[in-house]
C-alpha cells in the first residue's frame, strides 16, 4: 500500500506540470492587460510600461513561466499582482472555508444517496422508486444556482429559518458555521446525491440478481444481511468511484455557490482573480484544485483493494 501511494504521487507530478502549463497558456489568451488595470484609469502609456516592466510582463513568456515554476517548486506561488500578498497565504486562508463546504456537500450527497439508492433498488417499480427517480432526475437537471435561489427564497426569506448569505468560521461558532453552510452545501450536493443514488440503484439491482445473492438467501440469511452485507460490499465499488468523480465536479460548483451565498472561499477568490487577470492567483487556485482532485482519486484507489479482494496486491 505505501508503495502504491508513493507511485501515484510521483505520477501526479507530470499532471501538475501540464495543468500549470495549460493554465498559464490560457491566461495569456484572455483579453485585457493587468498592467493597464493596475496602473489606474488616468495612467500615461509610460506609466503602464513601467508597471509592465515592474511586474516582469515584458519578459518572454517562457521566462515568466520559468520564474513561476521555480518558485512553485519551493512552495512559493508568487504574489498577487494587486495586493502583493503571497498567493500561498491567501489560498491557505480560504482553503478551510471551501473544504468545509465541499465536505458537507459530499456528506449530504452520500448520506442521502445510500438510503435512497437502496430503497429504489430493493423496491424497484414502487411508488418510492418512482419518486426517488423523479427527484434525482430533477436534481441533475436543475442548475445549482437556480436551486440556490429557490432555497434562499424559501428557507431564508420565506421561513426565516436559515441565513441567506454570509459565513462564520468553524473556530468561532460551529453551530453558526453549520447553519450558514447548510443551504450552500445542499445546493452543491444535490447533483452529486442524484448521481450517486442512480449509481447505487443500478449497482444494487445488478448485485441482488447475482447468483451469490441467491445463495445468501438460500442459506437463510436475513434480507437486510443479503442487501447490506452481501450486495452492498460489491455495489460499493462503483458507488465510491462515482462519489470520487463528484468531488471534482463539486469543486467546480463551489465557484458559483460561494459567489451566490457570499462565502469567502477559493471559488470566490478565483473569480475575482479572473476578472483582473491576476495570473499568479489563478495559477495558484488551479494548482490547489488539481491537487484536491488528485488526492481524491488517490483515496478512491486505496479504497478499492479494501472492498474488492481481486485487486489486492498479492
Amino acid at each position: 500500500m505505501p508503495r502504491l501511494v508513493g507511485r501515484r504521487l510521483l505520477a501526479a507530478l507530470p499532471v501538475l506540470f501540464i495543468v500549470s502549463l495549460l493554465t498559464f497558456g490560457v491566461t495569456l489568451l484572455v483579453p485585457g492587460d493587468p498592467a493597464v488595470t493596475l496602473a489606474g484609469e488616468n495612467a500615461t502609456p509610460e506609466q503602464v510600461d513601467q508597471t509592465r516592466e515592474r511586474l516582469g510582463l515584458n519578459d518572454p513568456i517562457y521566462v515568466q513561466y520559468g520564474r513561476w515554476l521555480g518558485g512553485a517548486l519551493q512552495g512559493d506561488l508568487g504574489e498577487s499582482l494587486y495586493d502583493q500578498r503571497p498567493v500561498v497565504d491567501s489560498i491557505l486562508e480560504r482553503v478551510p472555508v471551501t473544504f468545509g463546504l465541499a465536505v458537507l456537500a459530499v456528506l449530504f450527497a452520500a448520506a442521502l444517496a445510500i438510503p435512497s439508492g437502496v430503497i429504489s433498488a430493493t423496491r424497484r417499480g414502487s411508488i418510492w422508486d418512482r419518486a426517488i427517480t423523479l427527484v434525482s432526475s430533477a436534481g441533475v437537471a436543475i442548475p445549482n444556482y437556480f436551486l440556490g435561489m429557490l432555497l434562499i427564497l424559501l428557507f431564508a426569506f420565506g421561513l426565516g429559518w436559515l441565513p441567506a448569505v454570509g459565513y462564520v468560521p468553524f473556530t468561532e461558532s460551529p453551530g453558526d458555521w453549520f447553519l450558514h453552510l447548510l443551504l450552500p452545501a445542499l445546493c452543491l450536493g444535490v447533483a452529486g446525491w442524484a448521481e450517486i443514488t442512480r449509481q447505487i440503484r443500478s449497482a444494487m439491482i445488478q448485485e441482488l440478481e447475482q447468483d451469490y445473492a441467491r445463495t445468501a438467501t438460500a442459506k437463510g440469511l436475513r434480507r437486510r444481511a443479503v442487501i447490506f452485507k452481501h450486495a452492498a460490499k460489491n455495489a460499493s465499488v462503483p458507488a465510491i468511484t462515482v462519489t470520487g468523480l463528484q468531488v471534482a465536479y463539486l469543486f467546480g460548483g463551489t465557484v458559483i455557490i460561494e459567489r451566490m451565498f457570499g462565502i469567502p472561499g477559493l471559488g470566490q477568490f478565483a473569480i475575482s482573480a479572473v476578472y483582473v487577470r491576476d495570473i499568479p492567483v489563478i495559477q495558484g487556485v488551479v494548482i490547489v484544485a488539481t491537487v484536491v482532485v488528485i488526492v481524491t482519486n488517490l483515496i478512491v484507489d486505496t479504497l478499492y483493494p479494501l472492498l474488492n479482494p481481486k485487486v489486492r496486491p498479492a
Binding site: Y212, L221, N308
Partner: protein, 348 residues
C-alpha cells in the same frame, strides 16, 4: 464430525413409501408471467422424498427441474408464482410460513447447492466467513466458534489445509474446490434435506466424480435426504435411490433407480437412455430424440411428448394423460402405451 444417526444406512433397502417423508411436493403448479401471459411451467407435480433417501430428478433444460427446486426452497419470485399445490418440509407447510419464518428454515432444515460454483459464492468475502455466517445465523454460535466450525466443514468436504484456506477468497479456488465450499456451506447446519441443482454440470469429468463421491459419503455421514437434479442420466445412476423424470413441466416417469435403468417405461426415458453415449459399444452415430421440447406456452393438450414419440397414436392427443402405475412398487409412467405389448422386447 456431526454425530450422525445414520438413518440412511438404517433405512437402506426400505421401500421409500415406508420411510417418514422429509420433503413432500404435492400437486405443485408454478406459472411465470411472459409475453404470452401467465404460463404454467410446472404442472401438478407431486414428489415425496423420504428420510435419508436420494432422489434424482432428470430432464432436459427447460423441463422445470430448477423451478421445482426453487419452489421447494420457497424461492420462486416475480415474475414467477406458485399457482397451486404446496410443499411440506418435515410436516410443516412452507406456503404457510412468512418470509421471515422461511428465513429460519432455509440453510437450517433445507439447504441447496447450485450449478455455478464460480458465481454462487460472494467474491468479496472469504470462504470461511461465508460458511461461518450460516452457523452464526442459525445455530447462534459466537464468531470464534463459527469460524472454527467453518474450518471443520472445509476439512470435512476435503479441502486441504482448511485452516489456512478458510481465509482465502473464492477466486483463489478452482471450480471443483468452490463446489466443495458450497457443499460445506450447505451442510454447515446439518440440514435434513439437501437440494443439489446440477452441482457437477459446470465441472470437468474427473472433478465431477470426486464431487459425486463426496456427496455420496456426506449423505451417509449426515444422514440427510437428497434431491439431486441433473440432465445427465449417468450422474443420476451414480447417486440416486429413486429417479423422477420430468418432461415439459410434468413428471413423466418415476421408479426406483434399479427399476428405471433396467426397464424404462416411458418412451421419453427410453429415448434419453438411448441417446447416452456408451463406452462399451463402438458406435459411429449417436441417437437423438427427434424434434425439440415444446415451449411452455405451446404445451400440447394431450401427451406432451406425443409430437416426438414414435409410438404415439390418436388416443395420445385426446386429453391429459395421468400417471399410470406400472409393474414395480411406486413406479408410474405418464404413457398410455406403458403397458402395451410393444413396449416389451428389445427396443433399447
Amino acid at each position: 464430525m456431526q454425530p450422525s444417526t445414520a438413518p440412511s444406512t438404517a433405512l437402506a433397502g426400505t421401500p421409500a413409501s415406508t420411510r417418514p417423508p422429509v420433503l413432500q411436493i404435492e400437486d405443485l403448479s408454478v406459472e411465470f408471467l411472459t409475453e404470452h401471459g401467465w404460463v404454467t411451467v410446472i404442472d401438478s407435480l407431486s414428489l415425496t422424498i423420504g428420510e435419508g433417501e436420494s432422489v434424482g430428478l432428470v430432464g432436459e433444460s427447460g423441463s422445470g427441474k430448477s423451478v421445482t427446486s426453487l419452489a421447494a426452497m420457497a424461492l420462486i419470485k416475480h415474475p414467477g408464482r406458485v399457482s397451486g399445490g404446496h410443499v411440506t418440509l418435515d410436516g410443516v407447510r412452507l406456503d404457510r410460513l412468512s418470509w421471515r419464518e422461511m428465513e429460519d428454515v432455509r440453510g437450517k432444515k433445507i439447504a441447496m447447492i447450485f450449478q455455478e460454483p464460480m458465481t454462487s459464492l460472494n467474491p468479496s468475502f472469504t470462504v470461511g466467513e461465508q460458511i461461518a455466517e450460516v452457523v452464526r445465523r442459525h445455530d447462534g454460535l459466537s464468531r470464534k466458534q463459527a469460524a472454527e466450525r467453518a474450518v471443520n466443514m472445509l476439512d470435512t468436504v476435503g479441502i486441504p489445509r482448511a485452516r489456512e484456506r478458510a481465509r482465502a477468497y473464492p477466486h483463489e479456488f478452482s471450480g471443483g474446490m468452490r463446489q466443495r465450499v458450497m457443499i460445506g456451506m450447505a451442510l454447515a447446519c446439518s440440514p435434513r434435506m439437501l437440494i443439489a441443482d446440477e452441482p457437477t454440470t459446470a465441472l470437468d469429468v474427473t472433478t465431477q466424480i470426486q464431487i459425486l463421491d463426496l456427496l455420496h459419503d456426506l449423505r451417509a455421514e449426515f444422514g440427510m435426504a437428497l434431491l439431486f437434479i441433473s440432465h445427465d442420466l449417468g450422474v443420476i445412476a451414480d447417486i440416486a435411490d429413486r429417479v423422477a423424470v420430468m418432461y415439459a413441466g410434468q413428471l413423466v416417469e418415476t421408479a426406483s433407480a434399479d427399476e428405471l435403468f433396467a426397464r424404462p417405461s416411458h418412451p421419453y426415458t427410453r429415448g434419453l437412455m438411448r441417446s447416452m453415449p456408451r463406452a462399451d459399444e463402438a458406435t459411429e452415430t449417436f441417437f437423438a430424440i427427434p424434434g425439440a421440447p415444446p415451449a411452455p406456452w405451446d404445451f400440447p393438450s394431450g401427451c406432451r411428448f406425443a409430437p416426438r414419440c414414435s409410438m404415439a397414436g390418436s388416443d395420445c392427443t385426446q386429453g391429459p394423460i395421468p400417471l399410470i402405475p406400472v409393474g414395480a412398487a411406486d413406479a408410474a409412467s405418464r404413457c398410455l402405451r406403458t403397458t402395451a405389448a410393444d413396449l416389451e422386447g428389445p427396443h433399447l
